[in-house]
């Protein structure tokens, strides 16, 4: 039985499998899904990185038209020389039937920048600070639709919780 109607080019890195067996179909499916999820993660990570460029939020909103929820990214107005890095990303993409194109992605990230303007009630310190956060991104039809972002400034958390 031919599962897919076209031939696949063989490469050295492909492990031999039998598409007629259970293992073959399942392995083949997981391989494709894994490749798709890797691309999804790259797409979402690139979007988040662009958000943290100067003028990035307005530009991304124009190009992606997504709804931004959760905590507002007020740190972007308070920090200079912003550096963004993704720590971990977990994809959960829908791959079956008509649900394709949908997915939820959780990305943990850090942003570091020089604290030159007031942030969350804290006076500017002029020091480089690191903010840790996570974003819950929802895609529909392969496009970003909503994003929930939560972040913490360790200095603020420390001061408040020590009271």
């Amino acid at each position: 039985m031919k599962l897919f109607g076209r031939k696949k080019a063989k490469t050295d890195e492909d492990e031999p499998f039998d598409p007629e067996s259970d293992e073959g179909i399942i392995g083949y499916y997981h391989k494709y899904v894994s490749l798709a999820e890797t691309e999804y993660v790259k797409f979402v990570s690139a979007h988040l990185a662009r958000l943290h460029e100067p003028g990035g939020v307005a530009r991304e909103k124009r190009e992606n038209d997504f709804i931004e929820l959760g905590m507002p990214r007020t740190y972007l107005e308070a920090l200079d020389e912003v550096e963004f890095a993704v720590v971990d990303a977990v994809p959960d993409a829908a791959t079956r039937g008509r649900a394709r194109g949908k997915g939820h992605f959780v990305t943990r990230w850090t942003v570091s920048g020089v604290h030159n303007r007031p942030l969350a009630g804290l006076a500017p310190s002029g020091q480089r600070v690191t903010i840790e956060g996570a974003t819950f991104t929802t895609l529909r039809d392969y496009r970003i639709r909503t994003e929930y972002t939560y972040w913490q400034l360790p200095e603020l958390t420390r001061r408040v919780l020590e009271r």
Partner: protein, 185 residues
């Protein structure tokens, strides 16, 4: 509008209708992650003092549809257990609980994949105790946040499997809470 085109190219090669054996396999794999998400939900509700009461759907089905259940492979007892306990907490502690009462805790979105659970939640409570140096105001407060849990699977000598929550990351909207209770950093 930007699209995840590269992901779409891989997925468009998959058939719309999957073979039954593949569907069964995916269902079995997803079942464990669903259980992790359910137990994580119950755990978070307990922590926030708003436990979920009432019977599980499975228990209700066992009572009502006893005859059909004998042939239903979906109702087999799982061969693993889930322990959440005290995972290593990497992010913000839940110190808001000290000052809030009558907590209504709701999980709004959850995802579960590969022994990883992410839960987005919202709390509605009353500021009835001193919190962050602010005396009780008895005001309604709303707080939202996210909890991420990573589980690790181990196998016991008797062959049974255990999922243990290893790491936890919790983020919540501290500036919004401070604003609602009238606190300053």
């Amino acid at each position: 509008m930007l699209m995840a085109d590269d992901a779409r190219r891989w997925l468009q090669d998959l058939p719309i209708r999957l073979p039954d054996r593949l569907k069964w396999h995916l269902t079995a794999v997803a079942r464990e992650d669903v259980k992790l998400a359910k137990d994580s939900t119950l755990w978070l509700h307990e922590i926030h003092g708003d436990p979920i009461t009432g019977r599980d759907k499975r228990e209700a089905r066992l009572e009502i549809y006893t005859d059909d259940l004998d042939n239903n492979p979906e109702e087999e007892e799982p061969d693993y257990t889930v322990e959440i306990g005290q995972p290593v907490s990497h992010m913000m502690p839940r110190d808001y609980l000290a000052g809030l009462s009558q907590v209504e805790f709701n999980i709004t979105t959850k995802i579960h994949k590969n022994a990883f659970v992410a839960l987005r939640w919202e709390i509605h409570a009353i500021h009835s105790q001193p919190l962050f140096g602010v005396p009780a105001t008895n005001k309604d407060v709303n707080l939202s946040g996210m909890t991420l849990l990573r589980f690790e699977q181990t196998t016991n000598p008797d062959g049974s499997r255990v999922y243990t929550a290893k790491d936890e990351w919790t983020y919540w909207d501290l500036p919004a809470l401070l604003e609602q209770i009238g606190a300053t950093p």
